[in-house]
Structure formats: C-alpha cells, structure tokens
Amino acid sequence: MSEISSSGRQRSNRQALWRRIDPAVATAFGCIVLLLLVGSIYSPNFLHLDYLLLQLKVASFLGVIATGAMLVILLGQIDLSSPWTITTGAMMACAAAAYGPVGVALAIPFGILCGVAIGIVNGIGVAYLRIPAMIVTLATNAVAQGLMVVYTGGFSPQDEATEAMRYIATGFLIPGVPNAVLVWAVVGAGAVFLLTRTTFGRAVYGIGNSERAAYLSGIDTRHILVIAFAIAGGLAAFGGVLLAGYSSKAAQSMGDVYLLPAIAAVVLGGTSILGGRGSYLGTVAGAILITLLQSILSVMQIPEAGRQVIYGVVIVIMLLLYGRAPASR
C-alpha cells in the first residue's frame, strides 16, 4: 500500500479534517457560546454587537500576550516573567516619549525591544545555562520589577503614552473594528504562519515533543529556545505598550493580572502544558473565553478574590480533562 488510492486519499482527507478540529478547541468555543448564553440571562446586553466588540478588544491585549506564552509553552517551557515584562514594555515606551520627537517615534519599538532583551536573558538562562525556565523567568521578573521600581522611584510614572500608542490601542482604522483587534489579528496571523509554515515552527513543535530527538535530528535547539523566549518577551512588552496606550499611561504592577490569564488562555485552548501539541486557534478561543469569564464574573459582582479562585479552579479542571489524553494522539 505504498501508493494511496484516490478513495483512500479522500478518506484520509476527511480524517484529516476531523483531526484538525481539535476537541479541546471545540470545547473552548462551546464554552464561549455557553458563557454568552449564561451572561444573557443576567443582562440582555451580552448578545449586543457593541458588547461583543468591546470584549474582543479587551481580549486582544490578553491575546497578544498569550501568543508569546503559547510559543514558550509549546516548547515545554514556561515564562513567568510576563508580568514585569508587560510593565517594563509599557513604562519604557512611555519613558521614551519624554525624549522629544525621536523618542515619540521610537516609543513602540523601544518598549518591545526591552521585552525582547528580557526574553533573550530568559532564553540564554534556559538554553545555555540549563537553569529550569521556572526559576530563570521568575528571577528576570524580579529583576525587571526592581529596575522599574528604581526608575520610577516606586511611584506611578508621570510619562504619558504617545499618540501612536493610543491610536493602536483605542483607535478605529476600519470603522466599527477597534484597532486593538486588528493588531491581534496581525499578530495572530504572524503566529499561525510561523507555527505552520516555517522551519522554526516545526522545530518548536519538535522540541516540545522530544528535545533529545530534535537535537539528534540536527536542530539547533538552543538557538530555537532563545528565539522563542525573545519573541515571547517582545510580545509581552508589546501587550504592555497596548495597555499603556489604552489607559494613556503605565502603572506599577499593571502586568500582574495577566500572568495567570495568559497561561490559562493557552492551556484552555488545548495546548499541552508539557509542550509539543496545540494550535493557535485554541489560544484565540482561550483568550476570548478568559475575557468573557472575567466580564461575567464582574457582572455577577463577584469580587476580585473570588475571580482568582475561579480561574485557578477552571485551569485545574481543564488540565485534568486534557492531561488525560493519550500521549501519542
């Protein structure tokens, strides 16, 4: 059966289609619909287009940050430095704005670059120094926090976000569609291309499944790890830039509330926390799901502490559901 007959090919195409619809992604989208229905019981506004677009806009910030988190999780690693990478990105972009017209023009790239730098440190620590990602990224998070506290003196920074930052976060290039959503769409398209069409993407999945096999296949695994952490850092910082644009300025600890949701969005979307398996569509679903969950919890007037408890519980439940899947599926 070395040659596949045409009927066999049709069958395998159909199977491929079924396989492509990951049950986890389907579950996540199902949960989104369910949440909207539950929400509409509390308030009919839940099914209004305006509300949905607003949620999509809020989800965009999380989505951009989760894209980076996903890349690292696909490798079987974790990035816990995102809270202060986000904050660093936001603060540094705003800080650059204070340095005249050149600073204003370079504010966004400068913010992102700071995140990339943090990511590179993470990557070198994990890939070359062989320190567990959990430790390295926690450490860089602490260092970034320290540096930002030194820079701001511990107070809310006075620098304002630039016009461009505000525009990409809150403006409307296409009437009706928030720019933040467009930005997420562009980042997402890039991620999909990177993961499915490039040698880098293949290597990421390969390393996530078996770093040893990838190394023995002649993949430069350390190189890939550093690049992935750098991209994750850059995207977290970009998320920070967007958030700063959204609220016109950076704030202390503004990234703290994104660590758990970013990882949760990735995992809820069906990406294996052990790496090697997952699709970007799942992360999109995960980010929207988390945002809706947050929104509904606040509409139901559950306090912040209760929300944190519910996130945690939801992640554990989802991990239980997905973690039991056979390894070779």
Partner: protein, 515 residues
C-alpha cells in the same frame, strides 16, 4: 539432582514483549549451597529470567516453586520477602543519601514511627562486613564513593535483606581486580552459609572460577545445564550459538580497491573512560559492523562521531580532511553528510504525536524550505519519494507517527535521514524489536545504499546481522577495538570469542574447570 526438593525451581516460564519472545518455556533449578552460573548471548533471555525471579515482571506462562511450594510475586518487595534478592547491573543506589540510608532504604528500622538511626547504622555495618567491605563508613554519602565501592554497597544492600537466593547480574563488571577477588571470597563464604547464588556474567573465566553448575540460555530457553568443568570453553560457545542461518541477507559486494581516501577515518578517539584509543576508517561502499557485548562503548562511539558527546579527544577525517564535529547540526551538513539512526526510536528518533509528514521532513527541513519558509510542494514530493523507496505502510501522511507499527516507525526514522542524502550512515541497533520482514528490507536497503557509495557503520546486538551484512566487523571490548574481523573471518564463533575477550585459538585451553 541429588536433593529431593530443590530450593527453587521454575518450569515452562514464558514471557513476550509485544511480538518478541523474550523467554520461551524456560526451566531452571537452583539448589541451596551452590553457585549457579548463567551464560548466554545478548538477548538470550537472561535479563528477563532474572526479572521474573525477582518479581520485576510477571511471566505470561509457567510456574515457580520455592521449597516445592508454588509461588508468584506481585512485586520486587514480595520476592524480597520470599528471600530472593537481586543485585542489579545498573546501580540502584541514591547518590545523595548515605550508605546506611541506602542499605535499609526499602525497610528502615523504626522507633516510635521514626527511623531509628542508631539501629540503621548497626544494620548497615553488619551488612557491609558480610559483603567484605567493612572499610566503607555507613555515614559516607554514596556519591563520594568510587564506582567499585558503590558496587560493594549494592551487594551489602542485598545482603541486608537476608536473602536465601542472591542473584548477581553482571555484578563485577564495574569492579577492579582486587575488588573482584574480594567479592569472590565473599560469595564463596555465602555459599558455605547455605545461600543459593545465581551468577550472571559474560566473563567466562569468572564463571569457571566460581560456579558449581552452569546453565546456558539461547533464544529464550535453557539449552543445557551441566556441572562446571565438564564442558570446554569451546563447547560452551557452541551451545550459545547453536542457530541455523537463514538466508535473509543480500549478497555482499566485494569491496572496490581505490586510491581515494576513506570517506570517514578516526584516529585515537577517546572519551572519559568509555572510549579508548579508537582508530578505524570506512571507505565508500563499505558496511562496517560494531560487535561485542552490549555496553562496551559502541553507542558512545557512534554518538562521539555524530558530535553529541562533549570532550572527545582524537581526530576525525572526512575524505582525508580533518573536521571538527561539535553537534548533530554540523554532522548533517552537506560537506560532512552524516546521519545517525538512534537507538531508541520512540524517544530519540521520532516525534510520536507529530504527523508522518512532520517526522519525515524533520531532519531535512533545510532541503524543503527557502529562507526558513517550508515549500509544501517540495516537501510532499520528497516525502512521497521516501514512502515509495522504503515501502512505508501508512494510511496517510497526516496521521501521527506513533500510530504506525514498530517496523514502519523504524523505516520512518531511516527515511527521514535518507532525505538528507547522507554519505556516512551510522546505525545504532536499528533492527531491535521489529519484525523479520522489515529487518530483511533494512538489510537490503543498507547494501543498496552502500553500493551507491555510502559508508555505513552499523552497531548490532544480533551477531547474525553482523555476519550477514558487514564487510568488516570491529569487535569492541571495554571501550576499545579489541579485534577486527574481515570477510570470511566473520563467524559467530569468532565474534563471540573475541567479544568475551577469549583468544580464539586458546578457547580450547580455557577449559571451564572448577576453581
């Protein structure tokens, strides 16, 4: 047997691992106060036998009797309780715990629910003394002891469990000569104390010195049991071989003499204490086998060539030019063109959850992409070619590689490297655990690749394969090349004799005589 009821007896014990019959109707009788030597080639079923006796695996069929009463073990702990204790080949000590902690690890003495450290020390001291290693301090950390001392601790640990049957699996392979003689006197004393000892070793002279009885295993069953000294070394080697050849191997092509430098040559390769002064060369069109017992440095040699090991000294020349290969990435590059089919296809060769397509193109992504972007059409045509060439049976290229049979998985591992068009192909036991049909296809493929000009280095634990496939065989012993066999010299007898480090001519003289 003179005794009416032997201490331990197993009858008709069989064990299958998937399609492989590891043990088939094995019988063994062990008497108290005897040292019983077990002999057999790699894969003859010795390890499985021990695992069944010590409760690590359960047999599929057959029965075991202790003192004439039928028994079965649910776990190693149950076997320990019955008095069967094994000293494993791989050291089972925990490096960061003390010697005493390790010795009593499975059943520490307790007082008020907490470990009684004083009693623990006393037990450890006594066990160490019994093992003839009273000089080891019970409070020393295992990681601070040299390898040979650790092996003594391992024996003490077994003795602390008060065994009636003590199994030693290659227990002396890590020991220095002085330690070996110490262990031997300990074992002889234990025999006087009425223990039954099962001694598994590849070193024939050790068996000759120690054992009262010998049993030879071949292909999963016992072929003969005899009192030591009644058979010559030569006869024993013959018993260990005993198989008929089946004509599954393609005809060898006579090597073409050429003036060209060998495709790959290494000079004085060495790595830690596992590779010693290795020099050899492979010409285009040659299939070189690596023989010898398991674990004599063959795997390390392949990994060293492929740039995986750090700190390898010596020189590697590709077509006469010295090269430095620091990683598999460098090894696979065009100017070197090396490929390694790794040992464990499930963890080293394949990405099981990923698709057949992703796996096939994984080592050759540079060939099917431009600027880092994969060209789907080129990828597909390369993959289709490989699926045809190796006749890989798969329901499509989108299904996970893990869903295929073992033989087809191995074909994918080979195919993914052939996509890179390598000139030098290193294979690490590529036919382990796959069916006979696929094995034959792999033999034919290897010969075809060699005829097309590839240089092939092929490690196998199966002597038949070495004889059937290889133009030359390098027999390794203790990290060095012990002997090189070429052409007609490659016989099973020569392979085993040199693997056991017995000079072929002197096999007759090394009569297995009682000590």
């Amino acid at each position: 047997m003179s005794r009416a009821v032997p201490l331990f007896r197993m009858e008709g014990v069989s064990k299958r691992y998937g399609g492989v019959r590891a043990l088939d109707g094995a019988e063994l009788t062990v008497n108290a106060g005897q040292i019983h030597g077990i002999l057999g080639e790699n894969g003859a079923g010795k390890s499985t036998l021990i695992k069944i006796m010590s409760g690590v695996v359960e047999p599929d069929a057959g029965r075991m009797m202790l003192d004439g009463k039928e028994i079965s073990f649910a776990s190693p702990a149950a076997a320990n309780d019955a008095g069967i204790v094994c000293v494993f080949q791989e050291l089972s000590l925990i490096p960061h715990l003390s010697v005493a902690d390790n010795i009593v690890i499975s059943n520490p003495p307790k007082r008020f629910g907490m470990i009684d450290r004083r009693k623990q020390r006393a037990i450890a001291k006594e066990a160490l003394a019994r093992a003839g290693a009273a000089d080891i301090h019970p409070q020393a950390l295992v990681k601070d002891l040299p390898l040979s001392r650790r092996q003594m601790v391992e024996i003490a640990k077994a003795l602390a469990r008060k065994p009636r049957i003590l199994i030693l699996d290659e227990a002396t392979s890590a020991l220095t000569a002085s330690d070996v003689s110490k262990v031997f006197s300990v074992l002889k004393r234990l025999r006087e104390e009425g223990l039954a000892l099962l001694y598994i070793s590849h070193r024939m002279h050790e068996i000759a010195e120690l054992a009262d009885m010998c049993t030879v295993f071949r292909n999963g069953s016992n072929v003969a049991s005899f009192a030591t000294g009644t058979k010559s070394g030569n006869e024993i080697v013959e018993m260990m071989i005993g198989r008929e050849y089946s004509n599954v191997f393609p005809a060898k092509t006579p090597p073409v003499l050429s003036e060209k430098p060998p495709v790959v040559e290494c000079r004085h390769l060495a790595w830690t204490d596992q590779l010693r002064d290795i020099s050899f060369s492979v010409r285009a069109g040659e299939v070189i086998g690596l023989g010898g017992l398991d674990g004599q440095g063959q795997r390390e040699l392949l990994l060293a060539l492929f740039g995986v090991l750090r700190g390898v000294s010596g020189q590697v020349l590709i077509e006469g030019q010295p090269v430095g290969i620091g990683s598999p990435r460098q090894a696979k590059r065009g100017e070197i063109g090396m490929a390694l089919i790794p040992e464990d296809r499930k963890t080293e060769g394949l990405l099981l959850p990923m698709s057949v397509r992703d796996n096939l193109s994984f080592a050759a992504l540079d060939r099917v992409s431009r600027g880092g972007i994969i060209d789907g059409t080129a990828e597909k045509s390369h993959i289709d070619e490989m699926i045809r060439l190796l006749a890989i049976k798969t329901a499509g290229t989108d299904i996970p590689a893990g869903a295929l049979s073992g033989g087809n998985q191995q074909k994918i591992v080979i195919a993914k490297w052939l996509m890179n068009r390598p000139r030098i192909i290193l294979l690490n036991d590529p036919t382990r655990g796959i069916d006979v049909g696929t094995k034959q296809e792999i033999y034919q493929l290897l010969r075809k690749l060699a005829d097309e000009g590839a240089a092939i280095v092929f490690y196998s634990t199966d002597y038949d394969e070495l004889i059937g496939c290889c133009d030359r065989v390098l027999v390794m012993y203790d990290g060095g090349i012990h002997r090189e066999l070429a052409g007609e010299e490659i016989t099973e007898h020569a392979l085993i004799a040199s693997a056991l480090n017995v000079e072929e001519a002197s096999v007759d003289r090394t009569r297995v005589a009682g000590a």
